[in-house]
């Protein structure tokens, strides 16, 4: 239908912190996505979760902000996960102490972010990404490999969604830990134009 590369933006969110849910104003995220009005909104959930409307295991920003917004607008939700990423096991000893500090820092980054934009650009974005990498490192190789495989599957399904409906405006909203890998992978496809969300 269209020969022009399809615009895809990846927006990272940072609302759920494993065992440490924090107070977070989701209205800013709703306003941001409402303003962008993407044609397709790719979310890290499985087709089964979407079909069953089973959002219990999904992040707060999906349950409370993006799914309700899509229900009331022309935004079409595309579930792009094949399965849920594996849960992080409990850390023990020194690793647990370091992990706790890292989560506190991530929570601080979230609390102190003035807007969803802040977590998607500049130093805060890179710091969050590295903290997640260190956290994954604390859990060992298996978790890191699994997270990477999950991001790889997300990317594959985003590409499929784009190829099913080329030329549309596609927004991918995932946890910030998958952003870098996802953007990098999506950039390798010639029919996709990975842009900043503000340029979508």
């Amino acid at each position: 239908m269209s020969t022009k590369p399809t615009s895809v933006a990846v927006l990272g969110t940072l609302a759920d912190f494993h065992r440490e849910p924090i107070a977070y104003n989701l209205s800013a995220l709703v306003r941001l996505v409402e303003d962008l009005q993407p044609d397709l909104l790719c979310l890290d959930m499985t087709s089964d979760e979407w079909a069953r409307r089973d959002f219990a295991g999904l992040p707060l920003e999906y349950r409370e902000a993006l799914v309700p917004l899509a229900a009331q607008t022309d935004i079409v939700v595309v579930p792009v996960a094949d399965e849920r990423p594996i849960a992080e096991p409990e850390l023990q000893g020194v690793r647990a102490a370091i992990g706790g500090k890292l989560r506190q820092t991530l929570a601080y980054l979230q609390r102190s972010a003035p807007s969803p934009a802040a977590i998607n650009q500049g130093l805060r974005h890179h710091v969050a990404n590295h903290l997640y990498e260190v956290l994954a490192g604390l859990h060992g190789r298996h978790l890191r490999t699994s997270a990477k495989a999950h991001a790889h599957r997300l990317a594959g399904n985003v590409v499929q969604a784009v190829r099913r409906d080329p030329g549309r405006r596609v927004l991918v909203v995932v946890n910030v830990r998958f952003c870098h890998y996802l953007r990098q992978t999506l950039r390798s496809y010639a029919d996709l134009d990975v842009v900043r969300y503000s340029e979508l």
């Binding site: 239908m1 409402e34 229900a71 022309d74 079409v76 595309v78 409906d165």
Partner: protein
């Protein structure tokens, strides 16, 4: 920033002023909705000659639907009526659609269902509960003449869209089911209209029902 979806303008018709205020307060908080006004009756709205068009949410009092049927035709053509009904009764819905309503929404619906119904009706789509859509459309067929009765060479995607259209789905619901954008579904619908030789959604739906597209599978 092309392709941004415009807001749907909504006018509320309800006899009681408190009810109108409540509806306006609720709807004004919803994304993609702009409350353009309110009126106590279809006649009052017609007399006001509101510019532009959009959707009219008609909240008829319980049991007053029969009275409403004869008065819907007084609404300005650019304003498409979506009627709140107590229950999804086929005969009542058929009567309302024949009288000029673009759809109905049950009082038991969620806010999200209501809002998507308003958006769809505002665009000129027919809004019917999908569970009884085929039945409603078949009844409408009894007294409608589409003037079309020829097979068409539809692509498999267009056939899928037509199948969903015949089940009474709105463009958004079709798009969500097929994981396509609403704009792509609209493009498929335009192609379908061309191939079927019809000029409106209603004609396309009737063609689809007549040719068995409303059946499951």
């Amino acid at each position: 920033m092309d392709g941004r979806v415009s807001v749907t303008r909504v006018v509320v018709i309800a006899q009681a002023s408190l009810l109108r205020e409540a509806w306006k307060a609720l709807l004004s908080m919803q994304p993609g909705i702009e409350v353009a006004g309110d009126a106590g009756s279809p006649e009052a709205l017609a007399a006001r000659a509101l510019p532009g068009g959009g959707c009219v949410l008609v909240d008829a009092q319980t049991g007053a639907t029969a009275d409403l049927v004869g008065r819907l035709s007084r609404l300005p053509r650019e304003w498409h009526a979506l009627v709140l009904v107590d229950a999804s009764q086929t005969s009542q819905i058929v009567e309302l659609l024949r009288a000029g309503a673009f759809g109905v929404v049950s009082r038991g619906s969620s806010v999200a269902e209501l809002v998507s119904g308003l958006v769809a009706a505002g665009r000129g789509e027919i809004v019917i509960p999908s569970a009884i859509a085929a039945e409603v459309l078949t009844q409408l067929l009894d007294d409608a003449s589409t003037g079309v009765d020829r097979p068409a060479s539809l692509s498999s995607r267009e056939a899928e869209v037509l199948h969903l259209l015949a089940q009474g789905l709105t463009n958004k619901l079709m798009a969500q089911q097929l994981l396509l954008s609403v704009r792509t579904v609209e493009a498929h619908l335009r192609a379908i209209y061309d191939k079927l030789g019809v000029t409106s959604r209603t004609e396309a739906v009737l063609w689809a029902v007549r040719h068995g597209y409303a059946r499951g599978g």
